[in-house]
């Protein structure tokens, strides 16, 4: 998975720990020069999914509408217990190129393989379970390109090559090769065990991280835990042709029934994911507005769901975000 969530949540953690009551000022900057026609609404495939999925995707729909964002959703029903993703859904994503996903319940044990995984494979979203030279190269290239375009200083490869000598060895080789082409970006390597320990004690030493999929989720969840939980961590799966945006860390909350019933799931993660999506669609000022509104709500501290220490419902958070939109 192309991990684009870390930088965003780092910025978010800085805000959550400041607890200031003064509103965050808008920094006006020219974000980009549109081509004629860029403002025409884009179609985005929407998969609400299971559990808290529909709740949080609905939150995004409301906020997008409030912002008059130039996009509209094509909604599809997909559930974790289906055998496969319906063909029409895949077609929709292929047509629209962009998808926003709530969450699909994964049955534990044997039998049905994760639909989340099969969606990534189907759309060739740069994530695969088998480490091949081809896959390693393109994810490494993406990581460095992302760092380059976003003015990041360091790319760290997270691996376990001392144990998984062949697979991770190949992964590291690919990373090193790509690193040579970006001499201005610092490249480091770290074993996943140590990485977790460092993340917990000194997360600021990390910038952009690239990992094989097996550890990716693990590192993302650890990072999410530090940032405040999976309720605030955005994520995106990017490929050459398509992109799917969803919460950055697997919550296991997809199945939490109480949260669904009482409508208390935290929509922040998906809202921030949709902001990433807006950037991907090249609507940066809408993304800025959305993120600023979310940051204000969190730092104000009045409207927080349970995972952030409050007692608000999803709807209350959504209303607060909409109220804080410029």
């Amino acid at each position: 998975m192309a991990r684009r969530s870390f930088s965003l949540f780092k910025a978010l953690t800085k805000t959550t720990t400041s607890f200031s009551l003064t509103p965050i000022p808008i920094s006006r900057s020219v974000t980009y020069m549109p081509r004629p026609g860029d403002g025409i609404p884009r179609a985005v495939t929407l998969i609400p999914g299971d559990g808290i999925g529909p709740l949080v995707t609905n939150a995004v729909e409301q906020v997008m509408q409030a912002m008059h964002a130039p996009l509209y959703f094509e909604k599809y029903e997909v559930h974790g217990d289906m055998n496969r993703i319906p063909a029409e859904v895949i077609e929709s994503i292929k047509k629209n190129k962009v998808c926003l996903k709530g969450g699909l319940r994964t049955p534990v044990g044997g039998g049905v393989s994760s639909l989340n995984v099969s969606l990534r494979k189907e759309l060739d979203l740069y994530a695969s379970l088998v480490i091949t030279k081809f896959c390693s190269e393109r994810i490494a290239k993406y990581a460095f390109e992302y760092a380059y375009l976003n003015n990041r200083k360091t790319v760290t490869a997270v691996h376990k090559a001392n144990i998984m000598k062949l697979a991770d060895g190949l992964f590291l080789e690919s990373c090193r090769e790509v690193a040579k082409k970006y001499p201005s970006i610092k490249y480091t390597e770290i074993i996943v065990d140590n990485c977790c320990m460092q993340l917990v004690s000194k997360p600021e030493q990390f910038d952009v991280m690239v990992t094989p999929n097996l550890y990716g989720n693990l590192v993302a969840n650890t990072a999410a835990g530090i940032a405040g939980g999976t309720g605030v961590m955005p994520g995106g799966n990017v490929g050459a042709d398509y992109a799917v945006f969803e919460q950055g860390a697997s919550a296991g909350n997809v199945g939490k029934e109480k949260m669904v019933e009482r409508k208390k799931a935290n929509p922040v993660a998906l809202l921030l994911s949709s902001a990433m999506m807006l950037r991907h669609l090249q609507f940066p000022s809408f993304a800025d507005r959305l993120e600023t509104a979310v940051k204000r709500v969190i730092s104000e501290g009045k409207c927080r769901t349970k995972d952030l220490g409050g007692d608000s419902t999803t709807q209350e958070v959504v209303d607060a975000v909409i109220a804080h939109l410029d």
Partner: protein, 327 residues
């Protein structure tokens, strides 16, 4: 101090062991137990001295048999560890190991691997995290699950969590979980739950108190134990114990040999001392274990004597003296 709370909770107490200590009080002083000691490399010898000093001050009935890693490969073991060293552990059934720098090169097994294989060590306990060896088989899974539940029971723990990624590694982790469930049925008084490793990482970071004893296959074990080490303050404080068949136990400090501070009287002996404490618990010398552990925690909590890695400026010897003073 949050660090102390986590350390205390994680190291556990001797809730279930009052009976055995009283019984022991009525017998005459027990014959010294022989234990193998591998001081190791780098800071190893210095911190091993600390352990010996503290044990002496606490009057622990242990007689150390010291062994060193050689600079020649012993053909009988294909490692720098000699046959005599391994025999010593096999005979004494209990040992303590300092950090060993595996020499770079090919054609020999790593020291840790040698120890694990030769002594048939199947479970690694790092403060409540029990992990089994690499290949997941029914036998290995049952064995480590049994150990985890037994450990929980004898240490008064209430909950065992099996960590897995069975949604992805369906066959291997699926088998592992099945075995854990089988063993769980035999311990109805202990709560058993299963947690996907991704969630586990997040929950550990957010609220480690949610967990008690963790059991998992080796692939995740290293990661989780390092994560926990990071939470409590680093590898310099982490105790660990490898368990083998028929009660053999090799406690070890999992940190490195720190060659840059070797010989400078700067090293933090806490990890090796706490590992030695787990060794004492394994030997059922619970009150000695408690006394030493409390002395260590109190010394750190007091804050007057702390080694450089904990933000202080005390030497190894001063820190050790302070611990002896707290006994």
């Amino acid at each position: 101090m949050a660090l102390m709370q986590v350390l205390r909770r994680v190291l556990g107490g001797s809730g279930s062991t009052q009976i055995s200590s009283t019984a022991r009080a009525f017998s005459s002083a027990p014959a010294p137990i022989k234990a193998t000691l591998f001081p190791g490399d780098g800071i190893g010898p210095e911190i091993a001295v600390s352990v010996k000093q503290v044990f002496q001050a606490a009057e622990v009935p242990i007689e150390w048999e010291e062994h060193y890693v050689g600079d020649q490969i012993d053909p009988r073991t294909q490692s720098f560890l000699t046959w005599e060293s391994l025999e010593s552990v096999r005979r004494n059934r209990v040992g303590l190991k300092g950090p060993m720098a595996t020499p770079v090169g090919k054609g020999h097994r790593s020291l840790n691997l040698t120890l694990r294989k030769e002594l048939n060590l199947y479970a690694n306990v790092v403060r409540g995290v029990v992990e089994s060896l690499k290949i997941i088989t029914r036998q290995a899974s049952l064995r480590v699950a049994e150990y985890a539940f037994h450990f929980a029971k004898t240490h008064g723990r209430e909950r065992v969590s099996a960590i897995h990624k069975a949604n992805i590694m369906q066959k291997t982790d699926g088998l592992f979980l099945k075995c854990c469930r089988e063993v769980a049925e035999k311990y109805p008084e202990i709560t058993y739950e299963e947690v996907v490793i991704d969630n586990c990482c997040m929950m550990l970071v957010k609220n480690p108190a949610l967990f008690d004893v963790l059991v998992m296959p080796n692939l995740y074990g290293d990661i989780i134990s390092d994560l926990c080490a990071g939470l409590v303050g680093g590898l310099g404080l982490t105790a660990s114990c490898n368990i083998g068949e028929a009660g053999i136990a090799l406690a070890e400090a999992v940190h490195g040999s720190a060659p840059d501070i070797a010989g400078k009287n700067m090293a933090n002996p806490t990890a090796l001392l706490l590992s030695a404490v787990t060794m004492l618990r394994h030997l059922e010398l619970y009150d000695k274990a408690e006394r030493i552990q409390d002395a260590i925690l109190n010394t750190i909590a007091e804050g007057k004597y702390r080694t450089a890695d904990l933000g202080g400026s005390s030497s190894t010897t001063d820190f050790t003296k302070a611990i002896c003073g707290h006994l």
